[in-house]
Structure formats: structure tokens, C-alpha cells
């Protein structure tokens, strides 16, 4: 299965690379009435899906391979998004409603006189990108260090990750926290001097998202395939045994958790310029749980499956909410129930086992969590 998974992953990367080239070409070089033309809004939509896919790969790395069901990955995603949003906000400059060259509109509105320290340097793109990586990474480091060191596992860990994103959700809602309150950051004008409204910028952002997804997949795949990755899987399947064998279990978990958080942050940073807004609702616990179902639908511990799951579920969501807006929650709810009940290894797991001719019974991937007996 593993070899086939690798081949599938390779095919996925190739398709993504082709898309990264083909979509901008089809969007920009073909006439608007051509059958091959991809209108900018679709480019943007697909770009958004790719960002979700990066988040799903990040989550799969910790959940599928390390057994940590984080219900707070939306927080890392949103933090990366806010870092990017702050850069974009500073780029508006004097073009805002209040035409203040330094202060974003909402600060002028709140009657603030000076830029808060947290916003310093965000007009400089490399610094903003550093923050996209650092802020989620450091939060994950601090949180994970506390959590893993004291052996918080299983549902307890899930619940406190959820509490973490809930706390941030509430904090970012406050106006005096200094990040735009419940309106968040929006009205972005341009990125690196290119207008966010132009079709070419949208195409470029799509390509950047595709490349980022390839990189995320490649990094995760490299980690999982390494000796370290084997130990990580062993931690997932028998944590106590690994500890008794002398492995520093918490370090293994922490590394994966931080890498995953950074990936999520990058996904958020690419997401914000494409949707044009970032607000506290991105921290909502429901968003993080939804990300978990993308991974479950695609198939845990497959990486490719997680990405495919994210794209498929979000595609379904777009179509569903357009066609039957009242029934989407039924659909999503049923998806949660049915996938966990009948597709424990996700669509990809189903496809891979179906193609295996011999009815060889494989040990369920993560059927038994260590010490799950309550």
C-alpha cells in the first residue's frame, strides 16, 4: 500500500505542477469567451481549495501519523492569515477611507494615535513572511511543550486544542486587542505592488498555493518516510512502549506539531489575499473540526488523501450551499457520521484496499489508540 501511495503522491504532485502552469495560462492567455478560459473567480476559488488542502496535509501529519487530533489547527491557519492581513493592511497606505498613511482605517476609527508595537515592521514583506512562520510555530511550540511534556493525550488534547482556538477566537473579537475586532482586516489593495483585483495576481496566487501545497506534501512525505517518521508512527501506535524503549516521545510529537502548525500558518497566509478578508470567525472551533473531516474523508495517514479530501469536501460545500443551502449542514453532519462509521480509512484507503486482489487482512491503521480503554 505504501508504494502505491507513493506513486499516487507523485501523480498528485505532477498534476499540481501542471495546474500551477496551466491554470494561469488558461486564465490569462485565452479569450474570455473561449471554452478553455477559466474566469478569475474560479481561479480564486480553486486557489482557496488549495490552501485548505495545505491545512489538511498539515493536520494529517499530526493526526494520521502522530495520533494527535488537533481541533485547534484553524488557529494556526488564522494566525498566519492575520500576519499576511497585517502586511496587506499596511500596503493600503493613504488609500484607506481616512487616508492615513500609517494607521489602518480601523485604528483611525478607534481614535488611536500611534501604530501598536505588534504592527511594527509589517509593511516590510520579508518580515511579514517571517511572522507567518514564527507566530504559529512559536504558539505550537509553547502549547505543545506544555501539553506533551505532561502527557496530555487523546480526547483531552483535542479538547484543550479546541479551548486554545476558542480563547483566540474571543480575544481577536475585542476591538482593543488591536487586530480589527470583529470586522477583522479587509479592503486590501495590493500585494508586493500588484493589485489583488487583477486576474494576473489571482493566477499568480493560485500558482503560489499549488507550489506551497507541493512543498507541504514533499516536507510531510519526507518526514514520514524518514527514520524519524517511523518512530513517529510507533509513538502513535504504542506511546508507552516507545517511552519504555527510551525514546523521548514528547520531542517527536512536538517536532511534528510545530512543523504542522507552520504549514497551517503558510496556508492561512496564502488564503487571505485570495479571499480578501481575515476576521476572528476563522478561529471558530467549528472550522478546525471541519478540517478534521477533510482529512477523515480523504483518508488519514495518506497525505495525498487529506489534500484530496479537503478539495473534494470544499467543492461539495460550494456546490451544495449554492444548490440546496438548507441541506448543507445535513450533508456535512452525515459526512462526519458516515465517514467515521463506514470509511475509517477514508476514500483513498477504500480505493487502495479495493484494488488489492488478495483479501489479506491488514492491521487497521489506527484502530486502537494507545491505552484507549477508558
Amino acid at each position: 500500500m505504501s508504494q502505491r501511495l507513493d506513486r499516487l503522491g507523485f501523480a498528485f504532485v505532477v498534476i499540481l505542477a501542471l495546474a500551477a502552469i496551466a491554470v494561469p495560462v488558461l486564465s490569462l492567455a485565452t479569450p474570455a469567451n473561449s471554452a478553455f478560459n477559466i474566469p478569475p473567480y474560479l481561479v480564486q476559488l480553486f486557489g482557496k481549495y488549495l490552501c485548505y488542502a495545505i491545512l489538511a496535509v498539515a493536520l494529517d501529519l499530526v493526526w494520521g501519523y502522530c495520533g494527535i487530533l488537533s481541533l485547534g489547527h484553524g488557529a494556526f491557519f488564522a494566525l498566519g492569515g492575520y500576519a499576511m492581513g497585517m502586511y496587506l493592511m499596511r500596503q493600503i497606505g493613504a488609500r484607506g477611507v481616512y487616508a492615513n498613511p500609517i494607521l489602518p482605517d480601523f485604528m483611525v476609527f478607534l481614535n488611536w494615535k500611534a501604530l501598536p508595537v505588534a504592527w511594527w515592521g509589517f509593511n516590510w514583506f520579508p518580515y511579514a513572511m517571517l511572522m507567518v512562520v514564527l507566530v504559529p510555530g512559536l504558539l505550537a511550540l509553547a502549547f505543545g511543550w506544555f501539553a506533551f511534556r505532561s502527557r496530555v493525550t487523546g480526547v483531552y488534547l483535542s479538547i484543550i486544542t479546541q479551548a486554545m482556538t476558542f480563547a483566540l477566537f474571543k480575544e481577536f473579537f475585542r476591538n482593543d486587542f488591536g487586530f480589527g475586532g470583529n470586522n477583522g482586516l479587509t479592503d486590501f489593495k495590493d500585494i508586493l505592488g500588484f493589485s489583488l483585483q487583477s486576474a494576473s495576481t489571482k493566477a499568480a496566487l493560485f500558482s503560489a498555493s499549488a507550489v506551497a501545497l507541493i512543498l507541504a506534501y514533499w516536507v510531510a512525505h519526507a518526514i514520514v518516510g524518514s527514520k524519524y517518521g517511523k518512530a513517529l508512527i510507533a509513538v502513535r501506535d504504542a506511546e508507552s512502549r516507545m517511552r519504555f524503549l527510551g525514546y523521548r516521545v514528547e520531542n517527536y510529537k512536538l517536532f511534528a506539531f510545530v512543523v504542522s502548525a507552520v504549514m497551517a500558518g503558510v496556508a492561512g497566509a496564502l488564503y487571505v489575499p485570495q479571499v480578501g478578508i481575515i476576521n476572528p470567525s476563522e478561529f471558530a472551533p467549528a472550522n478546525s473540526i471541519e478540517a478534521a473531516i477533510w482529512v477523515a474523508v480523504g483518508g488519514r495517514a495518506t497525505l495525498v488523501g487529506a489534500a484530496i479530501g479537503a478539495i473534494a469536501v470544499n467543492f461539495a460545500k460550494t456546490w451544495f450551499t449554492g444548490a440546496f443551502p438548507d441541506y448543507w449542514l445535513y450533508g456535512l453532519g452525515l459526512l462526519f457520521v458516515l465517514v467515521t462509521l463506514f470509511l475509517p480509512r477514508g476514500l483513498l484507503g477504500l480505493a487502495l484496499t479495493a484494488r488489492e486482489k488478495s483479501p489479506r487482512v491488514e492491521a487497521p491503521a489506527i484502530a486502537v489508540e494507545e491505552g484507549a480503554d477508558p
Binding site: W63, L69, L71, F143, F146, A147, R149, S150, R151, V152, G154, V155, Y156, S158, I159, I160, Q162, A163, M164, F166, A167, K170, E171, F173, R174, S240, P285, I289, A292, I293, A296, D326, Y327, L329, Y330, L332, G333, L334, L335, F336, V337, V339, T340, L341, P344, I366, A367, V368, E369, G371, A372, D373, P374
Partner: protein
């Protein structure tokens, strides 16, 4: 004259005119009885005839001091430019809304042509005199409640004009409660006056100290700033510190009460979760939706009950909410959760899916908007205990929380089902080996936990909006209670709920509601680093590492 006429005619077109007429009609009914102070009243009314401001003001003062039954009607008419005089016939009268002219002395209509009558002029000084006189009229009212209300009004406005009437009433007051209110009002006037004697100020400080509260504090503060007398200043300082200490004490007690009330809601919401988590080791993300179902059950009961049973709606709602939520809970356990044992993380996701379905179902059935669930009479309103304000519905929710907690303790400690439940919580495999049907027990425990959540929903319907999202607001707090208190022991849940509820309300005034919650979340996250299995964790080999 023309200007007065214009004023009057513009007044006639205002809506206040009709209101004034209604008041007047009322007074007219009251004033048909013959006057007691016949001669004095004649003298007083005669003063209006000269139509001089100084004379009119004297008349107003006398009306207030003697308080004949017609006084209110006359003063009201004067204030509204409706008081008329006929100097030739020495008649004083007032006009009603309908234009009829009534004799001010007797209240009888005056027939015939009224061309001889002209208006009594009013200026601003006179108007404020009228206002003061009206206030003192109520101070002398025969109803003690009205006297107290009038004294409270003076305490609030600190109108020095009311002082003579206040003193007069205080001298003859027999009701001690009214006397206290009058003394307070006098103290307030003395406090804001610049030229009160030290004696008056000391008396004022004494009265204000006995009263306590924010208002008294600021009044004593004013005295302290105005006085130069060291004795008064010392008295003011000691009164201030005493008032301050009492305010702080009542403030703390009020915070404690709010905290208790929040804790009771948390306990109701979390205790069912603690049962299912303790017995089965699974987190039920649809737990909040069970409470939501309970709240809608209350709504349906209110809708269906005939009006003569409405006061007893909760007696029907509580069992129904329990049954509905428990049935749904058992169905979830049978259809979903039992297939997911040993996979607690997936149970979490699956129950989240169930919660989405339940929310959407309720939204389709009842609509997305808030439903109004009324408080039965015995649960509405509030009462005061000292400086504490206690809302009745919160009090009953605390009672309900204690009752549910006690009932669950009895079930757990005194029934075979409870014994089996505790056994499975402590060591599932050993319990199964001893012949306990763990599958059946799981089903029942899940039903019980969900049913209790349904009862929590009844309580929530009394204090919160009943909407499909009701459960979402409580789920994370409930988790925190369970995580903090630990599973396997309901006392842990109670302790967790109390700690979190009270800490929340103590932090709220200090750093704000949202900040308080965030601090609490961070503290809990840090806390479970130390005690990963909660405060009251089960100990022993059976429990996973």
C-alpha cells in the same frame, strides 16, 4: 398679554394639553368633597386675584403648607396657565380640557359667560415654586408608600425647596420607615447645601452612614469637601470608610451570588457530560444539542399547555425534556457510538456530525429565530437581601442544579445501576468479567447523561435565548468543567463548576468578561499540565497512564 395668549394657544395644540386635561379630570373627581380649611383657603386664593408674582408665590407656598384637597388641582392648573381670575367678582377658577370653568374653591362649574376671567400670569420663579409645592404635597400624602416615594424623590433630586415641607412632615411623622426616608432626604439636602450648619452636617453624615450605598458615599464625600469643621471632617472620613467597607462586602457577596448562579448553569450543563465521559471515555460533542432539545421541549410544552396549566409548565417540561433528550441520546448511542468504541477521537467527530444534524433539524422544524419561553410567575422578578439583588429565576436554577446533583448521587450510590456504572467507570474489563453487560450499561449511561443535559436545557430556556445554536455556547465551558474536575466523581464536576463559575464572575469586574474567560481558559490549559486527568482523577492501576 398678547405673548401670554400666544403661549396659551400654542399650549392648546400640544398633546400635553390632553394629558393635562386627563389629570385635571381626575383631580376634579377628588375635589368634590367640601374643603376642611375653608377660611384659610379663601385667604390663600384671594392672593391670586392681584395677579402679582410675589402674591402668587405666597399663595403657592400656603397651598403647599396647608395642603387642602384642591391644592394639587389648583397648582396643576396654575402651572399649565389654566388658572383664571375674575377680580371683579373675586372668583378664582380653572379651566378643564373641555373648556368648562370650575370654581377653584368648590370644584363646581361656573355657568354663564366667562368673559370677565383672565389668566394668572406665571414666570419661571413661580414655576419652580409650583414644582416644589407639588413635591411637598406628596410628602404629606396620607399613604405611607407615597410619602416614602416622595422622600426618595427628594433624596434623588436634593431639591432644597422641599426642606420646609420635609421638616414639617418629619415633625409629625409616626411611621418609622417614612421617618427614616425623610431623614435621609434631609441629609441629602444638607449634604449639597453650602451653608448648612455643622450640626446639620453631622446629623446628615449619621443618616447617610446608616443608609450606605453609592449615593450616600458620594454625598458624604461632598460634605467632606465643603466643610471646614475638623469634627465634621473626621465624622465624614469614618462614615466614608464604613460605607466603603460595606459596599465592598455587598459587592463581593453579589459577585459570589452571580458566580453561584453561573456555576449552577455550568454544573447542569457539564454533569451529564461527566457521566458519559466517565463511563464510556468518549466526548459527546452533541451534548450541547441535547440541552438545546430540552429547551425546545420546554417551548413546545408552553405552546401546547392550556392557559390554566401554564404556571405549572415546568412540571411538565422537566420530565419531557429528560425523556426527549434521553431518547435521542440512546438512539445516538445505538446507531453511532457503539460502533466506535476504542476509537474515541472518531467518536468526537461523529458526534460533532450528529450535533450539526440536530441543529439543522431543529432549525427546519422551528425556524432559525429565537423562540420566547416565558418565566412562570414564581420564577420572575427579583428581591433584595440587604445590598444583594437576587433574581428569582437564577435562584430556582440553583435549586434545580442541587436537586439534579443530589438525584444523580443517589442513583450512583444507591441503585444497582449506579453500582454497575461506577464499576465500569473504574475498570471496564473487570466489570465485564464480573457479568455486567457493559453494552447495555453504556446505552443507559448515555441516555442518562443526555437526559440530564435535557434538564439543563429547561434551565437554559429560562435565562437564555432558545435558538438552534443554544448548545454551542455552553459546550466548551462544560468541557472545561469536566477536564478541570476530572471524571469518575461527580463531586469533581461540582467543584469544577463552582470554581470556574465563581472565578469567572470575580475576574469579570476586574479585567472584563471576555478577558476573564480567556484567562480562565489559559489557567485551565496550564492546570491540566499539572493534573492531566483533572482534580478528582480516579487513581489505581485500572486507569490508563
Amino acid at each position: 398679554m398678547p405673548s401670554a395668549f400666544r403661549l396659551a394657544s400654542s399650549f392648546l395644540t400640544t398633546p400635553a394639553w390632553t394629558a393635562a386635561c386627563a389629570v385635571l379630570a381626575l383631580f376634579t373627581c377628588m375635589t368634590v368633597s367640601p374643603a376642611a380649611h375653608a377660611d384659610a383657603l379663601d385667604d390663600t386664593l384671594a392672593k391670586f386675584l392681584s395677579d402679582k408674582f410675589s402674591q402668587s408665590e405666597k399663595a403657592v407656598g400656603e397651598l403647599a403648607a396647608e395642603a387642602p384637597p384642591q391644592a394639587a388641582a389648583i397648582l396643576d392648573a396654575l402651572g399649565d396657565n389654566r388658572l383664571m381670575i375674575d377680580p371683579a367678582d373675586r372668583l378664582v377658577a380653572y379651566k378643564t380640557g373641555a373648556g368648562a370653568l370650575l370654581n377653584a374653591r368648590t370644584g363646581q362649574p361656573i355657568p354663564g359667560a366667562n368673559a370677565a376671567f383672565k389668566k394668572v400670569r406665571v414666570n419661571n420663579a413661580l414655576r419652580s415654586a409650583i414644582e416644589g409645592a407639588m413635591g411637598s404635597l406628596t410628602l404629606a400624602s396620607p399613604d405611607p408608600q407615597k410619602r416614602i416615594a416622595a422622600a426618595e424623590e427628594v433624596f434623588r433630586t436634593r431639591a432644597a425647596k422641599a426642606l420646609p415641607a420635609l421638616q414639617a412632615q418629619l415633625a409629625k411623622e409616626s411611621d418609622p420607615r417614612v421617618a427614616d426616608a425623610l431623614k435621609l432626604a434631609r441629609a441629602a439636602i444638607a449634604a449639597v447645601s453650602d451653608d448648612a450648619s455643622s450640626q446639620d452636617r453631622l446629623a446628615a453624615i449619621e443618616a447617610l452612614k446608616a443608609r450606605g450605598g453609592q449615593n450616600a458615599q458620594s454625598l458624604v464625600d461632598q460634605i467632606a469637601q465643603k466643610t471646614t469643621d475638623p469634627r465634621v471632617r473626621d465624622a465624614a472620613d469614618s462614615a466614608l470608610s464604613s460605607i466603603h467597607a460595606r459596599l465592598a462586602m455587598w459587592g463581593a457577596a453579589q459577585d459570589l451570588w452571580y458566580g453561584l448562579s453561573a456555576s449552577s448553569v455550568l454544573l447542569l450543563a457539564a454533569i451529564g457530560l461527566a457521566i458519559t465521559f466517565g463511563v464510556m471515555g468518549v466526548i459527546n460533542m452533541a451534548h450541547g444539542e441535547m440541552a438545546m432539545l430540552g429547551a425546545y421541549a420546554t417551548y413546545v410544552v408552553q405552546l401546547l399547555l392550556p392557559s390554566w396549566l401554564q404556571n405549572w409548565s415546568l412540571a411538565f417540561a422537566i420530565p419531557l425534556a429528560f425523556l426527549v433528550a434521553a431518547t435521542v441520546g440512546v438512539a445516538i448511542e445505538r446507531l453511532v457510538i457503539r460502533y466506535l468504541y476504542m476509537r474515541p477521537l472518531e467518536t468526537l467527530l461523529a458526534t460533532w456530525g450528529v450535533s450539526l444534524i440536530l441543529q439543522q433539524t431543529v432549525r427546519s422544524l422551528f425556524g432559525a429565530s429565537n423562540r420566547l419561553v416565558g418565566n412562570p410567575p414564581f420564577m420572575s422578578g427579583a428581591f433584595h437581601v440587604g445590598g444583594l439583588e437576587i433574581t428569582t429565576n437564577r435562584l430556582w436554577i440553583i435549586v434545580l442544579a442541587i436537586a439534579v446533583f443530589a438525584a444523580l448521587q443517589i442513583v450512583l450510590r444507591a441503585t444497582p445501576f449506579g453500582l454497575q456504572m461506577r464499576a465500569v467507570t473504574q475498570n471496564r474489563r473487570m466489570a465485564a468479567a464480573m457479568g455486567i453487560s457493559t453494552a447495555r450499561l453504556d446505552m443507559l449511561a448515555f441516555g442518562l447523561g443526555s437526559g440530564v443535559a435535557g434538564i439543563a436545557g429547561v434551565a437554559l430556556s429560562q435565562i437564555d435565548n432558545v435558538s438552534p445554536n443554544l448548545g454551542q455556547g455552553y459546550i466548551i465551558d462544560s468541557f472545561m468543567v469536566v477536564v478541570f474536575g476530572g471524571v469518575g466523581n461527580l463531586w469533581g464536576t461540582a467543584f469544577g463548576a463552582l470554581t470556574i463559575g465563581i472565578a469567572n464572575k470575580i475576574l469579570e469586574p476586574l479585567i472584563g468578561a471576555v478577558q476573564g474567560q480567556i484567562v480562565l481558559l489559559v489557567v485551565i490549559i496550564l492546570f491540566i499540565q499539572r493534573r492531566p486527568r483533572g482534580l478528582f482523577a480516579l487513581k489505581g492501576r485500572a486507569v490508563e497512564a
